[in-house]
């Protein structure tokens, strides 16, 4: 019996020749991440432990991105905790405003994560880095504190579900649609405690930004991680972003999968997740009567340069509906600058939208675009739970950037072909 890519990475990091799904292991982490919501608790626990120095100042990453730029006094104090700790511990990777970006867009861009690495983050969307062939998963603040002390984290080795995607994507269909379709199929706990291994011809042809979107949302199916075997696209990305000490793993042909699911995506329409669960997925065409107040394009799911290019392509020389607020948020400074250099910012502004500084912002109802009672948003973000973007009686629909842009023009949920 062979081993999955996930079992192989976990074995290597726990100094074992083999590990099998179900085993409890303690593994060395290559990177431990925290943000302005989760790190203050972790830092408190770390300091209570009596340990003076973190296990490796190069391997602890702190990013104030959720409520930064500081939205209020309390948030400012939380961010200050990170800054003080980063200075005291001389952390190599602390990213202040100006260098900062939404963590799961920033880390791949900086080459801090790469194939074969084991990454934990006190943020549920840490599963994003599986797109690069890493084992990477979200944990809590206490896990982060323990990792800062010991350099280790405990895991139950997950079983893997294999998802095979066949066929050629339609023009307006991206990684976001593939993963929404999958979550719609298996439900918000369809991959509970399991690794989602994404493969098939459609994945092999999928650009890295789309792969990152897909693995990002593994958690929305309850997954412990999402992972894609590295290939030529991965190698090209890694060369460009300069991740070091990487290792390419592949699942064995006779690896064990308790479940295999296959999808033919050639006829797949852009997908939209309706309130209040990411699994409540419908074809975009079925929702053309849903009026919107706000369209948000950004986040760790879809705030990368290719997402902005797609949105700008739809919005070029067009105006959004006057009743709609269009909010575009590049996920990192580098993406921001690239968008400016390509003139994408001008397209968004001329269309009637705003182009904001990198932040998680409205995705989690933090700031920079909160919904009032009764309001409806379409967003390229990852969650549409009750109250996620503001008032408990507001409504969030999740989509790809082309649909979000087209909907801003129409003032209702719209297929990009309509504009």
């Amino acid at each position: 019996m062979g081993y999955t890519i996930t079992e192989k990475i976990l074995a290597e990091h726990s100094s074992r020749r083999y590990v099998r799904a179900g085993e409890f292991i303690e593994a060395n982490v290559d990177l431990a991440l925290g943000n302005d919501i989760t790190a203050p608790l972790a830092i408190k626990e770390f300091e209570r432990s009596g340990k003076k120095k973190v296990f490796d100042r190069n391997k602890v990453v702190l990013i104030p991105d959720h409520f930064a730029p500081n939205k209020d006094l309390k948030s400012a104090n939380q961010c200050k905790v990170l800054q003080n700790f980063a200075q005291k511990q001389r952390l190599k990777n602390y990213f202040e405003i100006g260098q900062m970006g939404v963590e799961h867009a920033l880390l791949p861009e900086k080459g801090l994560v790469g194939p074969g690495k084991l990454v934990i983050g006190a943020d549920s969307h840490t599963c994003t880095y599986g797109a690069l062939g890493a084992f990477s998963t979200g944990v809590g603040s206490t896990d982060l504190a323990a990792a800062m002390v010991t350099g280790k984290c405990w895991f139950r080795v997950p079983q893997s579900i294999k998802f095979i995607y066949h066929g050629k994507r339609g023009r307006w269909v991206g990684g976001k649609d593939l993963i929404l379709h999958t979550i719609g199929d298996i439900g918000v706990d369809g991959a509970l405690y399991k690794a989602m291994e994404l493969t098939g011809a459609a994945i092999r042809n999928l650009p890295m930004d789309d792969r990152l979107s897909m693995c990002n949302m593994a958690i929305e199916a309850g997954g412990k991680s999402g992972i894609i075997e590295p290939d030529a696209i991965t190698r090209a990305y890694v060369r460009k972003n300069g991740a070091s000490k990487i290792k390419y793993y592949k699942s064995d042909k006779d690896a064990v999968y308790p479940e295999i699911r296959e999808y033919d995506i050639s006829k797949l329409q852009p997908q939209v997740a309706c309130p209040h669960l990411p699994s409540n997925v419908k074809d975009v065409g079925k929702l053309s009567k849903v009026r919107i107040d706000q369209s948000v394009i950004g986040s760790c799911t879809n705030g990368r340069i290719s997402d902005l290019r797609i949105a700008a392509g739809v919005l070029r020389k067009k105006k959004i509906k006057s009743s709609v607020r269009l909010i575009v948020i590049p996920a990192t400074q580098k993406i921001y600058l690239q968008a400016v250099e390509e003139g994408l910012d001008e397209i968004f502004i001329k269309a009637g939208g705003v182009f904001e500084t990198p932040s998680c912002g409205p995705c989690l109802g933090g700031h920079m675009g909160i919904l009032a009672e009764g309001e409806v948003a379409i967003a390229t973000t990852n969650r549409n739970f009750v109250g996620r973007m503001g008032h408990p009686k507001s409504f969030v629909y999740l989509s790809n950037p082309a649909v979000a842009a087209a909907s801003a023009i129409k003032g209702r949920i719209a297929h990009p072909d309509e504009v």
Binding site: T38, H66, K71, G140, D143, A146, V386
Partner: protein
């Protein structure tokens, strides 16, 4: 350990945004968080809950974000134990790590009603409903997790191990 209290019942897929909305995450003070516990699932929960009360919920309790503030707010609100059909994995880890007692039991989670008086014996793995006089078996934790719970959470566990 035995936990005894009155039941508050919730449905399936209760997520961390409902347990503690992000608008309150600019603090990590447990007392502040407790004031808003379960607010977007039941706005009156924080005013109704009494020390020792028990939450009973459907499948995938605590899905969504990694915020440890979710189990913290439940613990700080006075809830002694959470029974669910299943737990989302980060919530599960966080609860074990911070010492919020949780137990999985499909049958108990389905049969127990709001207002019932229930006792959870986490050592024996037995849930007793005094109101309906029924008992249920809880899923036992794997030995590794039992050692974490016994140590009083993850930080105490690593401290104790270092001493050894």
């Amino acid at each position: 350990m035995k936990y005894k209290g009155r039941v508050h019942k919730f449905g399936k897929d209760v997520n961390t945004d409902e347990i503690i909305p992000a608008r309150y995450l600019n603090t990590s003070d447990p007392k502040e968080l407790a004031k808003h516990c379960m607010e977007d699932a039941d706005a009156r929960f924080a005013s109704k809950v009494k020390k020792g009360d028990i939450i009973v919920a459907g499948k995938n309790f605590g899905c969504g974000s990694s915020r440890e503030h979710a189990p913290m707010s439940i613990k700080a609100a006075g809830v002694s134990c959470v029974i669910a059909e299943s737990f989302a994995r980060i919530f599960f880890r966080n609860s074990i790590n911070i010492g919020l007692p949780i137990v999985e039991s499909k049958r108990a989670a389905r049969a127990i009603c709001a207002g019932d008086q229930v006792q959870v014996d986490t050592v024996k793995g037995v849930i007793t409903n005094f109101t309906t006089k029924k008992t249920f078996k809880a899923e036992p934790f794997p030995p590794f997790m039992q050692s974490l719970i016994k140590a009083g959470g993850l930080m105490n566990y690593i401290k104790k191990r270092k001493r050894r």
